[in-house]
Symmetry: C2
Subunit: 497 residues, 2 copies
């Protein structure tokens, strides 16, 4: 008997092949950050550019366009139709760009990111500009093409790749509101904490012990080590494929908090990937919904759970077992340490309250860059002004802890930054909904009974993948679309409560 959906099946087969090739691409990207020695870079960049070109050719094959069109007329299930919707998104975004641009983007970002690794420690802004110009030029070109196709603004067209449906107008409203109350909250929290006595942990903390602790905590958080691993890279990330998730962290002997909380963050990403639905793996509908949804999982782990007083109580004895007992590992002290509000230069080291200020800064600058309102050379002055304005921090002349601190811009990832704070908002919304569904959630966390929390996330978020739009997923999970009130309520309860 022949299939009643031959065109859909052909489209699905193409996406299975894309999934197979994407596997090799993801692995090579992970390896590039986690393992690759310096002289391997040129060959790796060439190999990845070749693969990017192949995937682009597959996505822009006219035969695929025709199959998608015919598949839309076939008798599809609701899930198949959802897949076809996501296929359409993927097709439109690929077909907006010529292959030559895809290849130029790959080469420009690989070169810029590689150079950035040594330019950052050298505080070499001028050197960075020489490569970054190409990355920005390619990104603007890409944004222009995507905007022409979608009718969106250039920045919206880029942001839509990470956060389907999200628009500058919404982000402006959310971040504009945040800009109003955040400085006051930071000030009040700092005043409140001024009188607290917090004992700093005394190092050094052996890297081997830190690694063992990170892996232990990943186990507590349900990470499946038969389907993933933890390695080291300069900038922590969650890579690999859903079937084999590669988390990275970084270790410094003088402190374990960065590696531990970073690992907890990436474990949130990792569990999302490990729990995407298996039956349709490879199809766009089985991919994580969006970047903000992804960050909502990492921040549910790192912030909502990881800094929860009940969880910190469970964490404290693990620290003593790993590094030997010391007064700083008292659970209450540890909680104060993990919730201390201290404006600083580095986004990834920022506390939960000052973090969104870093995101607002990057959002405002990158949007203006992409819309052509400013040039790359304007970044340092704007950076300094906004750091002072938002956090009262002087960043002048310190490029390495300024615009050179993040991999996103050298890697050409414009439009991603807002997702961090949108994710924090979603995470607060999930936990508000969780507390409605599981009134004893906080007590359970204190008892180390995390299964109901993970089950909730699996059912509502992870296994839903891209079956619904983000708004509909949020509605189904928490009975409302994105509502930033939960985020403010969470921060006020934790920091002023």
């Amino acid at each position: 008997m022949s299939s009643p959906t031959p065109a859909y099946d052909a489209v699905a087969a193409t996406y299975t092949r894309l999934h197979h090739f994407g596997h090799l691409q993801s692995l090579a990207s992970w390896d590039q950050s986690a393992n690759m020695p310096a002289k391997g870079n040129e060959a790796r960049a060439a190999a990845l550019a070749e693969m990017a070109a192949l995937l682009h050719r597959m996505r822009t094959d006219p035969a695929l366009a025709a199959q998608i069109e015919r598949a839309e007329q076939e008798p599809l299930s609701e899930l198949q139709r959802a897949n076809l919707r996501e296929v359409g998104r993927d097709w439109r975004s690929a077909n907006a760009l010529p292959e030559s641009l895809v290849q130029r983007r790959q080469l420009a970002t690989a070169r810029c990111e590689h150079a950035w690794r040594s330019q950052r420690p050298a505080n070499d802004w001028a050197g960075f500009l020489s490569h970054f110009g190409d990355v920005l030029a390619v990104a603007r070109e890409e944004a222009t093409l995507l905007a022409a196709q979608t009718g969106l603004s250039r920045y919206d067209a880029l942001m839509d790749q990470y956060e389907p449906g999200m628009r500058t107008a919404v982000v402006d409203r959310l971040f504009g509101d945040l800009r109003q109350w955040l400085p006051g909250l930071i000030r009040q929290a700092r005043e409140r904490q001024a009188g607290e006595r917090v004992i700093e942990p005394t190092g050094p903390f052996a890297v081997a012990a830190q690694r063992a602790l990170c892996e232990q905590v990943m186990g507590v958080l349900g990470f499946d080590f038969d389907a993933g691993r933890l390695d080291v890279s300069a900038h922590p990330f969650c890579g690999g494929v859903p079937e084999d998730v590669r988390l990275t962290t970084r270790f410094a002997e003088h402190s374990f908090i960065g590696s531990l909380m970073g690992t907890i963050h990436e474990t949130g990403h990792g569990r999302y990937e490990q729990n995407l639905p298996r039956a349709l793996l490879g199809q766009p509908v089985a991919q994580a919904r969006s970047s903000a949804l992804h960050e909502s999982q990492s921040l549910s782990f790192e912030m909502q759970l990881g800094r929860h007083p009940g969880f910190v109580q469970r964490l404290a004895p693990l620290l003593s077992a790993s590094f030997g007992s010391q007064p700083a590992f008292d659970a209450q002290n540890l909680h104060r340490l993990l919730t201390r509000v201290r404006p600083g230069l580095i986004r990834v080291d920022a506390d939960e309250v000052t973090y969104p200020a870093h995101v607002i800064l990057r959002y405002e600058i990158e949007r203006a860059l992409i819309e052509g309102e400013i040039e790359a050379a304007d970044i340092p002055a704007l950076w300094d002004e906004k750091m002072m304005d938002l956090l009262g921090v002087d960043s002048r002349g310190n490029h390495k802890d300024g615009a050179l601190q993040d991999v996103h811009w050298p890697a050409g990832l414009f439009g991603y930054f807002p997702c961090y704070t949108l994710g924090a908002m979603y995470a607060a919304q999930w936990f508000a909904a969780l507390r409605r569904d599981l009134p004893d959630l906080d007590a359970r966390i204190g008892r180390g009974d995390l299964a109901p929390l993970f089950n909730w996330l699996r059912e509502r978020i992870w296994s839903a993948a891209s079956r619904w739009t983000t708004d509909e997923l949020a509605q189904r999970a928490s009975a409302e679309a994105l509502n930033p009130a939960h985020y403010r309520a969470h921060l006020e309860a934790r920091y002023l409560g």
Copy 2:
């Protein structure tokens, strides 16, 4: 101005693309052995099968065939002509096999190798047979197709893939002669060593210290750590790409000799790869000449140099520095330890003198398997008989240290085994030639002055890549084609001298 060699340029461009895709394939294969968690296997196998099919399609594209034919009429340089000769070899071997067979081979070997990893420790011969049947069936089919194309016997057709130009008739003559004198040499060497007092090193030897020692010795041997690295796998190998060589070893706390000598072996492979000519990288002419030539490098490092009394003298203080001083690390004792002749079950643990007996055994069995003279079920009885005959060792019922000990057969690598002993013969020939060219070679090794040795290998072997046939390369390097007399002379000098 347009190129006077448009067809050749098109062929070369295709091989550059194959090199880029092959990069991702090699990396994923290395990762599969060095990093991949168990549940990642199915997705990895599917990704690698997809890539194998793509590469096969590129190699069998009729347009490529036409370009190769036209390129042969173009005004090519000697090097371009050599490249076209190697392209022709590659083209013929790819075009003898249909894509369906390539895909079945990939899946059958991935499944069998994966199952083998747990069947080996469980001594599960019956379980192994259930997957190995598919691997053997596919290998025979492949051999039949290659034989039909080349006019060679089925086994010769497989062996020719690893060792171009080598034939069963030659191997039979070389190994037949070896079979004559080897048992006597083993007996004499053992009699001679019977009276020696050898002190065993006392463990345990911490894995971290072993790893540091291995990396130190790789440095002494000139391995470029900016273009490669050392990791761990169940079966040590040299993988990756020439621009980024991935060596593996394995550590056991009770002994450091396996990890150290294994690493020295793989470093020989690694330096060959790292020193292939850069200008034409990606073209077949820039690839290592053959498997026996590759093994001639690993065995030049592990056996000719690694067990040279002068080198062992340099090694001894490194051991004391790594593990603390002990009587076993006396240089003379260490040399006795490293040259002790002891028939055993395991090929990779075998000493220099009994090693070829393991290779003869495998050669005789796999040739009969491929030629259809025996079936997989016949292996254990033949194995037992030959182990007793060649080495006087009883292997009955011990499958895990018998036919299950090697990855080659589950991975479908029939025709490779002879290359180990051919490589040992070439290595002895290189060192005989080296001593003619550098009369003070042995004194230099004793002084740790290894540069002239490496320079000789770089000029004569590594940088020549596949520019000449193996016979011509041997002629140019050592003024004669393969001459097994050097191998016998080397063993007699070292073990009976």
